[in-house]
C-alpha cells in the first residue's frame, strides 16, 4: 500500500471513528461505525488478509451494527439531546489521556528500528492458508468457539426472554 493511499484511508478512518464517539445521535454514531469498520476492512486487504477483510464486512459492518441499532432502538433514545453531556474536566482528561497514550505509543515505536519486512510466504493470507492453520494448529480454539457460541445463545435467551 502506498503512502498517499494509506494516509487518505487513515484520515478517513480516524474521522469516522471520531464521529462515532462525538456525534450526539446514537443512530448516526452507529452509521459512522459502519463506515469505520468498512474502511478497516480495506486496511486488511492491504495487509494481505483478504478473508479477514471479507469477514469484517460480513460480520461486523453487516450483522453487529444491525444489533447495535436494535439496542439503540430498544433504549428509546428518541431525543438526541437527552444524552448527558460530559463536562469540561471529563473531556480534558479524555483528550489529555488520549494524547498521552498516543505519545507513549509513538515514543515506543520510534525506538524500534524499522526492520526490513520479511518476505511473506507464497499464498500468505489467502483463504486456503488460513484454513490450514485454523483446522490443524488451532483445533482447540475453533472447537471452543462452538461452545462459546452455544453459551452465548443460552445467555441471550436467558436475558431477553424474561416474561412479565
Amino acid at each position: 500500500m502506498t503512502a498517499p493511499v494509506f494516509l487518505l484511508l487513515a484520515v478517513l478512518v480516524v474521522a469516522a471513528a471520531l464521529t462515532v464517539v462525538a456525534h450526539p445521535s446514537p443512530v448516526y454514531s452507529a452509521c459512522a461505525l459502519v463506515v469505520t469498520l468498512f474502511l478497516l476492512s480495506v486496511f486488511f486487504v492491504a495487509l494481505d488478509a483478504q478473508l479477514v477483510a471479507v469477514l469484517q464486512v460480513i460480520v461486523y459492518a453487516g450483522a453487529i451494527v444491525v444489533l447495535f441499532l436494535f439496542v439503540i432502538m430498544l433504549l428509546n433514545l428518541t431525543q438526541p439531546e437527552s444524552r448527558p453531556t460530559a463536562g469540561v474536566p471529563v473531556v480534558a482528561v479524555a483528550v489529555g489521556g488520549g494524547i498521552g497514550i498516543a505519545a507513549l505509543v509513538a515514543a515506543a515505536l520510534r525506538r524500534v528500528p524499522p526492520a526490513g519486512a520479511p518476505a511473506l510466504p507464497e499464498g500468505f493470507g489467502d483463504t486456503a492458508a488460513l484454513a490450514r492453520r485454523l483446522f490443524t494448529a488451532y483445533v482447540l480454539p475453533f472447537e471452543l468457539t462452538s461452545v462459546l457460541l452455544l453459551v452465548a445463545i443460552v445467555g441471550a435467551v436467558g436475558l431477553a426472554s424474561r416474561k412479565g
Binding site: M73, L74, A160
Partner: protein, 118 residues
C-alpha cells in the same frame, strides 16, 4: 497478490457510477412540476404514523443476536469448504463437532420458544 482484487474494486466503482448516473439523469432530464396529488403516498407506502425512531421490542434484539451467532458459525465454513478435500476425515469430524454443538443451540432456542413472537 492484492492486485487480484482490482476487478472487485472496478465492480464497486461501476456499481457506484451506474447508480450516480441514474440519479443524475433523473435530476437533470426530468421535468419538475410538483402538485399535491403527486406528492401523496400513492401505491408506494402509507402516510407516516408516528416517529421513525420508535421503541423496538426486545424480541428484535434476540432475533438479531441469534442471527449473529449463526452468522459466525457459517463464516467458519468458508475456509473449511476451501480445504475440504485436503483436510479429509479429520476436518470432517472437526466441523461435525462444531456444527453439532451449535445444533444443540438451535434446538435449545427452538424448544424454549425463543423464536415465537408472542
Amino acid at each position: 497478490m492484492k492486485f487480484q482484487y482490482v476487478p472487485v474494486l472496478i465492480a464497486f466503482g461501476l456499481g457506484g457510477l451506474v447508480a450516480a448516473v441514474f440519479v443524475a439523469a433523473g435530476m437533470f432530464l426530468g421535468p419538475r412540476r410538483p402538485s399535491p396529488v403527486k406528492e401523496a403516498a400513492f401505491e408506494c407506502g402509507n402516510p407516516p404514523s408516528g416517529p421513525a425512531w420508535g421503541r423496538f421490542s426486545v424480541k428484535f434484539y434476540l432475533t438479531a443476536i441469534l442471527f449473529i451467532v449463526f452468522d459466525v458459525e457459517v463464516v467458519f465454513m468458508y475456509p473449511w469448504a476451501v480445504l475440504f478435500r485436503p483436510l479429509g476425515v479429520f476436518g470432517l469430524v472437526e466441523m461435525s463437532v462444531f456444527v453439532l454443538v451449535l445444533t444443540v443451540g438451535l434446538v435449545y432456542v427452538w424448544r424454549k420458544g425463543a423464536l415465537e413472537w408472542d
